[in-house]
């Protein structure tokens, strides 16, 4: 069963029964893998590409009709819901006329409930199926629990239920437990299903992006290589030309050209190393974004406007200082955006600012008020 582990980590592994006798030299007992899509029968375990890999061995024999691959090269064994194997012709013969008892254990079966076999060992097949069923509903995560302890308790319970189902211990009671759990956690289950979907989708996108990037990089690399070759060729020709025309020492000319070439190559290398795809950068941004939450916009972060102004501003003032604005016949000031209201506002605000602040009494921070401020207070 060593190859099952290989399958679990997602590699495609050729697997099949190794003949325990190992002596059937007359025909190949090499295990073979046969891929089919799961159209009729459902079940089975899908591999990364979404296909079901069916278990297949030269030593297959139908336990019901005893026909084997030697008699029937097209023999295909399927597994019932009670985990007994039989060949397609037996299934046709027994179940075409409706549900009938299993010839081995007498459990009532239907034709459509047969599935292709993925693992050599049917107990593994069963365990995988049970675990898959359980995982659909028992999909809580660590985040859903307040502490590690309760999460571990939950995992323990899941394991007990799984064990019971696999070994058919206390089936009605276990089913009742599952049902109770389902009712209790309906919303959370739904949520986790959606989370899972989202996660797989993201994973898919990421893979796609990475593939594109790889392609792009490969293309870039090819282009650079091409460029480099051209440049080398050009350099060589240049050296020859120079040697032809110049009267200088040959070694000097060659050394000079070489130096130039290495300089160019170095600058190219720098340009390529700084290249980092935007997708990669975006991903690193996204990973960072969960650490500190973004908060909604607060227009102002001080309480400047929280105070009530103790004065009312009029629409216009007839003061001598804004005479110039009134005389602006052509509207030049208005066209430039000058606002006399701002000047009024400023004058008013500076006149009343801090008028009602009590003088500081703390002797350590002795800040004396200028006398004119006292005078202003007295005038009020």
């Amino acid at each position: 069963m060593s190859n099952v582990g290989g399958w679990l980590v997602g590699k495609t592994v050729r697997r099949g029964g190794v003949n325990p006798a190992g002596a059937h030299s007359s025909r190949s007992n090499t295990p073979q893998v046969q891929s089919t899509s799961t159209t009729v029968f459902g079940g089975g375990v899908k591999d990364a590409s979404g296909r079901t890999t069916e278990f297949f061995s030269m030593d297959d024999q139908c336990p019901v009709c005893r026909s084997d691959r030697y008699l029937n090269p097209k023999l295909r064994l399927l597994v019932s819901s009670c985990y007994h194997k039989m060949c397609e012709s037996c299934i046709d013969r027994l179940f075409t006329l409706g549900p009938a008892p299993c010839p081995i254990c007498q459990k009532v079966l239907r034709k459509l409930a047969f599935m292709p076999q993925t693992f050599e060992d049917l107990t593994v097949e069963k365990e995988v199926a049970v675990r898959r069923r359980i995982a659909k509903e028992f999909n809580k995560r660590r985040e859903d629990f307040p502490d590690l302890r309760s999460y571990n308790d939950y995992l323990e319970e899941v394991e007990v239920i799984t064990f019971n189902l696999i070994n058919e211990i206390n089936i009605p009671e276990t089913e009742a437990r599952i049902e109770a759990y389902r009712k209790e956690n309906a919303a959370l289950i739904e949520l986790n299903v959606r989370r899972e979907e989202q996660y797989t989708q993201e994973l898919k996108q990421q893979e796609e992006q990475e593939r594109l990037e790889r392609e792009q990089r490969a293309q870039e690399a090819r282009r650079l290589e091409e460029l480099e070759r051209e440049e080398k060729e050009k350099g060589r020709r240049e050296i020859i030309d120079r040697l032809e025309t110049s009267t200088k020492d040959a070694t000097e000319i060659i050394a000079k050209s070489r130096a130039e070439a290495t300089k160019r190559a170095a600058s190219r290398a720098v340009a390529t190393t700084t290249f980092k795809s935007s997708a990669q950068l975006l991903r690193s941004r996204a990973a960072q974004s969960t650490t500190i939450p973004d908060v909604p916009h607060v227009p102002l972060q001080d309480d400047w406007y929280a105070y009530e102004d103790m004065y009312t501003k009029l629409d216009r003032y007839d003061d001598m200082y804004s005479e110039a604005v009134r005389q602006d016949q052509e509207g030049i000031m208005k066209a430039g955006g000058y606002k006399v209201e701002e000047a009024w506002e400023r004058a008013l605000r500076s006149a009343v600012t801090a008028l009602f602040l009590p003088p500081l009494s703390d002797p350590e921070n002795s800040l004396t008020f200028p006398p004119e401020n006292d005078a202003a207070l007295a005038q009020l």
Binding site: V295, P296, P299, L300, A335, G336, G337, E342, A343
Partner: protein, 368 residues
């Protein structure tokens, strides 16, 4: 040693100057730290005596406004002291600016990141405007980013307080690409709305990752604006033909912003279009902008600590400290001044002097 000198010497001892990181026409910038705590700061040493009229205008402006402005999104002036004949400004140390971030192609911006930067910009600007101060040089290069991601308005060398009615201001302010059309038409009476136009340009630049209205000359700037947003009619902008330097620069049709900003949300485009309104009086104010649905809608603005930051800590800091430090990457013609002149020198020297004379009296200092 009198009390003032003693206080100054004490202040001077509080800060340690480290290596020089940049030099401009009127200032040298050092990296420094606080002697007691080791906190990193930037020290900007202003050369005095090179200018006939004493201190450079922008230094005065910077001190004058930063002394009073304390806000999370405005650079903090920690201290001012003099050494020999020089004036030293101790500023908060900020290691990157928005321009570096925009230019770093290895960074990816999410819509939420742009929202976060815009919110911080508007908050800082709203704070200036509520205190009746115009920044007048907003550009990505002057929006610095602290190590915790907070964006801060810096370079108050062109800032001034709101003008009193009838007082002229110079129209030669704001780096050209971010300069509103009324200033290009030479208008001398304007208000906080000039800053809003700049913020609109920065917003567009954040989305495009390239300057939105890169005019090559002042004339070309107008043409670039009109090409992008359509030539304004008398209805769009009443009275603009009467502005001092008005010249017709050709008719361009209006194209919907959507054509260029294909990926932007409707709310984002609405806010952008409200920043880039031709008639200055109808532009959105910073306070209104902060309540715009763009900010309240989803996605939430990115938490400042998660905003993208340039990975390589290239020693190109403290530009804040000085827009005049000549950075090789700021192409000619980007600044408000002619290429080889420095923009700060361009603001007319008389302008803004009136309020200064009242409050900052340097004669005493000289005499002592």
């Amino acid at each position: 040693m009198d009390a003032v000198e003693k206080a100054n010497a004490e202040k001077q001892r509080r800060w340690v100057k480290d290596q020089k990181v940049g030099e401009g026409t009127y200032a040298v910038v050092y990296r420094g730290r606080e002697a007691a705590t080791g906190r990193r700061v930037a020290i900007k040493k202003i050369k005095v005596g090179q200018f006939k009229d004493g201190l450079d205008m922008s230094a005065i402006r910077e001190v004058k406004y930063l002394r009073e402005l304390h806000h999370q999104n405005v650079i903090e002036l920690l201290d001012v002291f003099s050494s020999k004949t020089n004036l030293n400004l101790v500023l908060e140390f900020l290691d990157s600016d928005l321009e570096m971030i925009i230019k770093d192609r290895s960074l990816v911006f999410l819509p939420a990141d742009i929202k976060s930067w815009m919110a911080m910009t508007f908050r800082g600007l709203e704070f200036c405007h509520r205190n009746f101060i115009l920044h007048r040089d907003l550009k990505p290069n002057n929006l610095l980013v602290a190590s915790d991601g907070q964006l801060k308005l810096a370079d108050f060398g062109l800032a001034r307080d709101f003008a009193d009615p009838g007082y002229k201001m110079t129209s030669q302010v704001i780096t050209r690409w971010y300069r509103p059309p009324e200033l290009l038409f030479g208008c001398r009476y304007y208000s906080s709305t000039v800053d809003i136009w700049s913020v609109g340009c920065i917003f567009a630049e954040l989305m495009l990752r390239t300057p939105y209205l890169p005019g090559e000359t002042d004339m070309d700037q107008l043409r670039t604006i009109f090409r992008a947003l359509g030539t304004p009619t008398e209805e769009d902008w009443p009275g603009h033909t009467k502005l001092p330097d008005y010249v017709p620069v050709g008719q361009f049709p209006k194209t919907p912003l959507r054509d260029l900003f294909t990926a932007a949300s409707g709310d984002a485009l609405n806010l952008l279009s409200r920043c880039l309104v031709y008639e200055p009086g109808r532009r959105i104010t910073a306070l209104e902008a902060l309540h715009h649905p763009y900010f309240t809608g989803l996605p939430y603005p990115t938490h400042p600590s998660k905003l993208p930051r340039p990975a390589s800590r290239t020693p190109r800091p403290l530009e804040e400290v000085d827009g005049n430090v000549d950075m090789a990457n700021t192409g000619p013609g980007v600044k408000a001044a002619a290429p080889n002149r420095l923009k700060r020198k361009l603001s007319s020297p008389m302008e803004g002097l009136r309020p200064l004379a009242r409050r900052l009296d340097f004669t005493q200092h000289k005499g002592s």
